[in-house]
């Protein structure tokens, strides 16, 4: 058994058993005509839906829409989060004033802000972008705060020794030392923004996007379309997170131990 499991090819084959069993169970449910047979889309119709969504270009449009929403939210929320996190770590009065407010805001599940934001800004794409930006904001803020607040004492001592100005200390010591955590924050922020994009698209159905398509397909009982959108979500999410991790490793290649 162990000998078998140590061979990569065998492992892949064993790994395929569960999905294969699941798919055949699925196909059987779709054709057997049970209570939920209407809901189980047979595999060929999922394939057909995929071909159709590719041909009319809506899948690509949705992927681009969701991705740009996430990246826009990452850019807005991430920038504000890093700026505020660094500022709060350097200048303590700001931390005293804003800390409690931000803490209070953080306790409410992000999605819980949707009704309030809906009242204030309507239930359109603007609100979607606000929620996505908020979801990226907090991980960026917390990590950059941590990164700057916990820079090693001796690094700062060296700056003192060399007579660095405040600006030099910031640019040459604080920022590089905090960079690993700031990038960790951005990686988390991207993952959060991606999930928030899908969630707000499902909840508000504004504009276009994978979540909007899923929600629309749900009201039309089109499980085949939902599944194609879910698979696209999974693959796109995996890809951007993976690319971001690689970018992070590349940016931190100067570090002795890659985090």
């Amino acid at each position: 058994m162990t000998a078998l499991l140590s061979r990569p090819a065998a492992r892949i084959l064993i790994g395929l058993i569960a999905p294969a069993l699941f798919l055949s169970w699925w196909q059987w449910q779709a054709s057997a005509g049970g209570a939920h047979a209407f809901a189980f889309a047979p595999l060929q119709s999922i394939g057909a839906a995929f071909v159709q969504l590719i041909e009319d270009g809506s899948l690509v449009t949705d992927m681009v829409a969701t991705l740009s929403r996430s990246l826009a939210g990452l850019a807005i929320g991430g920038t504000l989060g890093i700026a505020l996190g660094v500022a709060m770590a350097i200048w303590h009065p700001l931390d005293r004033v804003l800390g409690p407010l931000l803490n209070a805001i953080r306790q409410v599940p992000l999605i819980g802000w949707l009704p309030l934001l809906g009242l204030w800004f309507g239930t359109g794409q603007g609100t979607e972008l606000i929620v996505v930006s908020l979801s990226a904001f907090f991980p960026a803020l917390l990590n950059s705060y941590e990164g700057v607040a916990h820079v090693e004492r001796r690094y700062l001592d060296i700056g003192l020794l060399y007579g660095f100005t405040a600006a030099q200390r910031f640019r040459l010591i604080l920022l590089p030392a905090a960079m690993p955590l700031i990038l960790t924050g951005l990686t988390q922020a991207l993952a959060f923004a991606w999930i928030a994009s899908i969630a707000t698209e499902i909840l508000l159905s504004a504009g276009s996007g994978l979540g909007v398509t899923m929600q629309l397909a749900q009201t039309q009982q089109r499980l085949d379309i939902i599944l194609v959108a879910i698979i696209a979500t999974a693959m796109l999410g995996f890809t951007i997170n993976h690319l971001f991790q690689r970018l992070r490793r590349h940016l931190l290649r100067w570090q002795p131990s890659a985090l």
Binding site: I14, V108, I111, G112, P115
Partner: protein
């Protein structure tokens, strides 16, 4: 209660506890509420946009008196606890299975990891099609949100037990119940508890989202109805309650976690 206190609770809380009195911790929220009240009194925002905390308090009070708040909170908590228990037990069993058996790992983990790539919220449309929009759907989505973090934490926890410990146990001819009760469980419990805490937070977020989308009761539904009827006081009351619940859940789970792993630092 600064950002640092949240990010690394273990270190900072002990420090702040010794230096600050519990009264000092109340100052910041009180100032916050006072500022909110003043902003409203200044007439900067029309009452359709922002109502003062006093009015939110009144709304909360009347919701509580009429029993409506109790019903919403009760419904949400029922869904959360039932779904959470189902998801956590399933996650524990699944995580332990793929951690202990190489064959199970090879057979199940690729499928598991593939599904894990999908944000739980994206399963909402699928579950609605299969289960409708009633209780089973909400309990299922909570269970799903709980399952993945718990399963992963259990797997990691068991796999990170040093192999030498098992070797020692073998030398001493430890019987299986002792092996499980005295090595495996104590060694994995910190990781598992952390996973369960993360799962609780996520389950709560997903539940609120599911209630916003489709429910006839629950905190999320209370807020959504408030929005549709332009009752900003009800929406804000819901925001406050869901924040308090989220805070209480997180703090409660952290307290349990600290208590359970005390021996580690003793």
């Amino acid at each position: 209660m600064t950002a640092a206190a949240l990010a690394s609770p273990a270190v900072d809380r002990s420090r702040s506890r010794s230096s600050r009195s519990p009264l000092a911790a109340l100052v910041a929220p009180l100032v916050l509420v006072a500022l909110w009240q003043l902003t409203c009194l200044s007439g900067l925002f029309p009452p359709q946009v922002l109502v003062p905390p006093s009015e939110v308090g009144e709304t909360l009070w009347s919701l509580a008196l009429s029993g409506e708040l109790e019903r919403h909170v009760g419904e949400s908590m029922f869904r959360l606890s039932l779904g959470y228990v189902i998801g956590a037990v399933a996650g524990l069993v699944f995580g332990a299975t793929i951690a202990l058996s190489r064959l199970a790992e090879a057979a199940l983990s690729p499928f598991f990891l593939a599904i894990w790539q999908v944000p739980v919220i994206a399963f909402v449309p699928v579950l609605v099609i299969f289960l409708g929009i009633d209780e089973p759907f909400k309990i299922a989505i909570v269970a799903l949100a709980t399952f993945f973090p718990v399963a992963l934490a259990t797997f990691d926890g068991i796999r990170s037990v040093p192999k030498a410990w098992f070797d020692v146990a073998r030398v001493y001819r430890t019987r299986l119940p002792d092996l499980i009760g005295r090595i495996l469980i104590p060694a994995t419990i910190p990781a598992v508890l952390t996973g369960m805490r993360v799962a609780l937070t996520r389950a709560w977020v997903v539940l609120v989202a599911a209630e916003l989308l489709a429910a006839d009761s629950g905190i999320g539904q209370m807020m959504e109805m408030g929005r549709q009827m332009f009752r900003i006081d009800v929406v804000l009351a819901g925001v406050v309650v869901s924040g308090l619940i989220g805070f209480a859940l997180d703090r409660g789970a952290k307290a349990i976690e600290h208590r359970a792993i005390r021996w580690k630092y003793a």
